[in-house]
C-alpha cells in the first residue's frame, strides 16, 4: 500500500513535527508512514484522511497484487 501523506503534507506547508502533533502521533511515526515502512491502522488512516479532508482511498492507495476485498 502506498500513501500520499508526504505530498499532501507538503501541499499544506506543514513540517513533519506539526503534522505529527495534529494527528497525535510521534514524528518518527510520520517519517515511517511517509517512507512506506509502516502501514497505518484503520483508526489512524481515518484520522489522517479526516485531517486532509479527503476520503481514505485518496490518501492510501492499494498497489497491484495486494488483495482487495470487494
Amino acid at each position: 500500500m502506498i500513501n500520499r501523506i508526504q505530498e499532501l503534507r507538503k501541499a499544506r506547508k506543514l513540517t513533519q513535527a506539526e503534522f505529527a502533533s495534529e494527528i497525535e502521533v510521534t514524528r518518527q511515526t510520520v517519517i515511517s508512514l511517509e517512507k512506506g515502512k509502516y502501514n497505518a491502522s484503520l483508526l489512524l488512516a481515518h484520522r489522517i484522511a479526516a485531517f486532509f479532508e479527503l476520503p481514505i482511498e485518496d490518501v492510501f492507495i492499494f498497489e497491484k497484487g495486494e488483495k482487495k476485498i470487494d
Binding site: 497525535e24 502521533v25 510521534t26 511515526t29 483508526l43 489512524l44
Partner: protein, 155 residues
C-alpha cells in the same frame, strides 16, 4: 481494573481520559507502596533475631524512600498538562506500541531459549535444581495462557 492498570492506552483517547487512567494507576501504586511498608514494618517487629529485624527495617526504609520519591514525582507530573499530553502521544502511538510488543515477544522467546539450554545442561548433569527450571517454564506457559484468556475476555 486490569485494563486500567496494565493495558496500553487506546489510540484516540482524550487528554482527560488519559489523565484519569494515570491518576488511577498512581493511586493504585501509592496504596501498594503504603501496604508494602506497613507489612515489612510489621514483619520487622515480629522478628526475634536482630539481623533479620535489621534486614526488614532496611527493606522497609528502602521501599518507603523509593516509594515516596516516585509518588511525589508522579503526582507532580499528573498536574503538568503539557507533559501529560506529550506522554499521551508517546503512549498511544500505535507504531511505538507495536515496537514495544515485538521487543517484549523477542525478549520472552530469548528467555525461554536460555531456560531450555539451562534445563538441557542441568538434566545432563542430573542437577536437582533443574526441576525448579522445569517448574519455572511451566509457570511461564500457564501464566501466558491465563493472561491471554483474561485479555481475550476483556478486550
Amino acid at each position: 481494573m486490569i485494563e486500567k492498570l496494565f493495558t496500553a492506552p487506546k489510540a484516540g483517547i482524550t487528554d482527560e481520559e488519559y489523565h484519569e487512567k494515570i491518576k488511577y494507576q498512581t493511586n493504585f501504586w501509592t496504596s501498594i507502596i503504603v501496604l508494602a511498608v506497613i507489612i515489612t514494618m510489621i514483619l520487622a517487629s515480629l522478628q526475634n533475631a536482630s539481623d533479620s529485624r535489621s534486614f526488614f527495617h532496611g527493606f522497609s526504609a528502602g521501599i518507603f524512600c523509593g516509594g515516596i520519591g516516585s509518588i511525589i514525582i508522579s503526582r507532580s507530573l499528573l498536574h503538568n498538562r503539557k507533559y501529560l499530553h506529550k506522554n499521551k502521544i508517546k503512549a498511544t502511538d500505535e507504531r511505538l506500541q507495536e515496537i514495544s510488543h515485538q521487543a517484549n515477544t523477542i525478549t520472552v522467546t530469548m528467555l525461554l531459549i536460555v531456560s531450555y539450554i539451562a534445563i538441557c545442561w542441568a538434566t545432563f548433569y542430573w542437577d536437582r535444581r533443574a526441576s525448579y527450571l522445569y517448574l519455572g517454564i511451566i509457570f511461564i506457559y500457564l501464566f501466558n495462557s491465563s493472561v491471554r484468556y483474561i485479555l481475550n475476555k476483556i478486550l
